[in-house]
């Protein structure tokens, strides 16, 4: 078991563009779920909208930044369409509807009927060349402490984390504003907010759209990293991982989703590394625990840890205000 490489791999994963992308997604979800108390189980849908918007624009000849903007708009429109009929509903129904809309989007993007535009099951590839053309680091690898990162990845990392900081600061400013305080009021006691004359419906829709646009950036970063947009990577598993990050990091604060994302990927890569070494050892001695199984175990670990966190430390590791919903589960 090569601990040095496992640890450096884990550190690399913790600061990778993937972690930055999930941080962006978690910030967006935190706005919807942590600050407004809306349980939106369809963030994979808005991430897909952002990612596909980017890829489709670039592949039809547009510049990269235009693709990013279009991705933002697509996700905003998607979130708006989802929000308008659903923000009125209570938690269970909102959850069901948002999951259904995200699945509908995924099925449509995946279908052969949409293949000319979206690439169907195979998705779209090779759309990030113009982004990497701006890369000042070249193809050499750089060493940051014990971690070695190739130039292209370093470029994306830099851009992604700068985006995270910008979005975080922006959102922090928004949350401190009167609008932000209305959002928190909605979470704590919506009837009171409405009684005080706030248009809670509008504010909730705005929260969904704003959060959706943050997740669009997340989707864009993810697919730029992989140079591949695939409909099946935007399923409920993605939504769940972002929820796990938000809940474990602690909902309701700006910084906690970022820290949550970094820690999450650190721990996940660590466990992956250990499991993979175990799988190699097992394969050498003729056991059944192979590399395929490692991928499956990953989600078991995530699921179990999330359940443990919810049971024993529901406010997450960096406690902010827990999203407070009046209705508790009945029957004892």
């Amino acid at each position: 078991m090569d601990f040095a490489s496992i640890i450096s791999d884990s550190l690399r994963a913790a600061i990778s563009p993937t972690a930055a992308a999930y941080a962006l997604g978690a910030i967006g979800l935190n706005l919807q779920f942590g600050y407004a108390g809306l349980i939106n189980l369809g963030i994979a849908g808005s991430m897909a909208a952002g990612a596909y918007g980017l890829a489709m624009v670039v592949l039809s000849g547009g510049p990269f930044w235009a693709g990013l903007l279009v991705g933002l708009v697509c996700a905003g429109v998607f979130s708006l369409l989802v929000a308008l009929p659903t923000v009125r509903l209570r938690a269970d129904y909102l959850a069901m509807t948002t999951i259904a809309t995200a699945e509908i989007l995924r099925l449509v993007l995946r279908s052969s009927w949409a293949r000319p535009v979206t690439g169907g099951v195979n998705g779209l590839q090779r759309f990030a060349d113009s982004f990497y053309a701006l890369n000042p680091f070249g193809v050499t690898s750089y060493a940051i402490g014990p971690v070695i990162i190739p130039g292209r990845t370093l470029w994306l990392m830099l851009v992604a984390w700068i985006l995270v900081v910008i979005v975080a600061i922006g959102l922090w400013a928004i949350v401190k504003s009167p609008w932000g305080r209305t959002v928190i009021a909605i979470r704590e006691d919506e009837d009171l907010a409405r009684a005080l004359g706030k248009n809670t419906f509008n504010v909730k829709v705005q929260v969904m759209v704003l959060g959706g646009m943050c997740t669009a950036l997340a989707g864009s970063v993810l697919v730029t990293d992989q140079q591949n947009v695939n409909p099946d990577s935007f399923g409920t598993a993605l939504t769940f991982v972002v929820y796990a990050i938000v809940i474990m990091g602690g909902a309701g604060r700006i910084v906690s989703p970022i820290v949550g994302a970094v820690l999450f990927w650190l721990l996940l890569a660590l466990s992956d590394g250990i499991l993979r070494s175990l799988a190699d050892l097992s394969a050498l001695s003729g056991g059944w625990f192979g590399q395929d199984q490692v991928g499956a175990v990953r989600y078991v670990l995530v699921g179990v840890s999330l359940i443990l966190v919810i049971v024993f430390r529901p406010q997450g590791f960096f406690a902010g205000r827990l999203p407070h919903l009046r209705k508790k589960v009945t029957a004892s």
């Binding site: 938690a91 259904a100 769940f240 990953r298 989600y299 179990v304 508790k328």
Partner: protein, 339 residues
């Protein structure tokens, strides 16, 4: 004195009116759907016979959705938890039936019986090990939802881990020649499956209506605190609901394996259909779950006549969203606040 009697009579009439009004509303929804069906039958490209064939296939699918989703609806009614992991009971049932059938050569009928038992045990186990402790801690609805999703993901991963990613089929009843009744093709296994589903649903209805445990379950779903104060063993009722739900879902999954491939993610695909069916009919009502599920099944199959087959689940989901917008309580649900 006369005034009070007249007043209470009027109040009684108002109450009846409200209930009759609900019934009229439910009826008009169903009438509207039937009317839409007649229009579709006339207009579709495969002709009325193709439409009837789709309805028949939809009925088969719908009944399976009904028994699989019944547990979800009952659990929601009694404990207020919407269990996103419910679909995994179906996968469990199908995988158990498949494995015993292909690896050990046991006849499929017996393996399905075993699958039902294991499903019931899994339901009981998950209630005891996970949901009861969560309820006792007073966890919020949101956390319960997220736990359900986590559980579903973990279970799916375990299935993937154990049986691998390929789709599989049973060793028996894979190919059958269809019987033609009035121009519609029916497979023998389809007839058996549908009859079995109807029998199970009828049995459940009788159980809930006639036995004391069934009445306890109904009491708990109406008002758990009052039920507990009346001396009803709430925990026993809840455990029973989970056992029944898990067992029925396992049966549904095993039956679905007769018509579609068995795989580690069957439950997930089924789950959205279940959610659509159960919500369409009214969460927490048995009759509603049945009607809603059958409707979802039929709509899914009929949509294949008009849309590419891979989008057929999309119509069911669109129907779900539609009903959530118009009448979130579902066709037969009681009018209550959902927002």
């Amino acid at each position: 004195m006369n005034n009070t009697t007249a007043g209470s009579d009027k109040a009684a009439m108002r109450r009846t009116d409200a209930r009759t009004r609900d019934r009229i509303v439910a009826f008009s929804y169903i009438a509207g759907i039937v009317a839409a069906a007649v229009v579709l039958a006339a207009l579709n490209p495969s002709g009325p016979l193709g439409f009837l064939q789709a309805v028949s296939d939809g009925l088969r699918l719908g009944l399976i959705i009904a028994i699989t989703g019944m547990g979800l609806s009952l659990v929601f009614a009694t404990s207020g938890i919407f269990n996103f992991a419910h679909g995994e009971f179906a996968t469990l049932g199908a995988l158990v039936a498949w494995w015993l059938n292909t690896a050990l050569g046991i006849p499929l009928v017996l393996t399905i019986v075993v699958a039902i038992g294991i499903g019931g045990a899994a339901g009981y186990g998950s209630e005891h090990a996970i949901w009861r402790p969560l309820r006792r801690r007073g966890v919020s609805v949101t956390s319960a939802l997220v736990v359900g999703i986590g559980l579903a993901l973990a279970a799916r991963s375990v299935f993937l881990f154990i049986v691998g990613g390929n789709s599989k089929s049973y060793a028996e009843y894979t190919v059958q020649s269809a019987i033609s009744i009035g121009g519609i093709d029916l497979l023998p296994k389809q007839i058996v499956s549908e009859l079995l589903c109807v029998a199970v649903l009828a049995g459940l209805g009788l159980f809930l209506k006639l036995t004391s445990l069934g009445q306890a379950i109904r009491a708990v779903s109406d008002d758990p605190i009052l039920a507990s104060a009346s001396g009803i063993a709430v925990n026993r009722a809840l455990s029973t609901v989970w056992i029944i739900g898990g067992a029925m879902a396992a049966l549904g999954g095993a039956l679905l394996g007769l018509f579609e491939q068995v795989s580690w993610e069957m439950g997930n695909q089924l789950l959205l259909l279940i959610i659509a069916g159960v919500t369409l009919g009214g969460l927490g009502t048995v009759a509603g779950a049945v009607i809603g599920s059958i409707l979802v099944g039929i709509v899914t199959q009929v949509s294949v006549l008009f849309l590419p087959a891979e989008l057929k689940y999309m119509t069911a989901l669109a129907l779900l969203i539609l009903i959530l917008l118009i009448k979130p309580q579902g066709i037969l649900g009681r009018k209550q606040r959902v927002g």
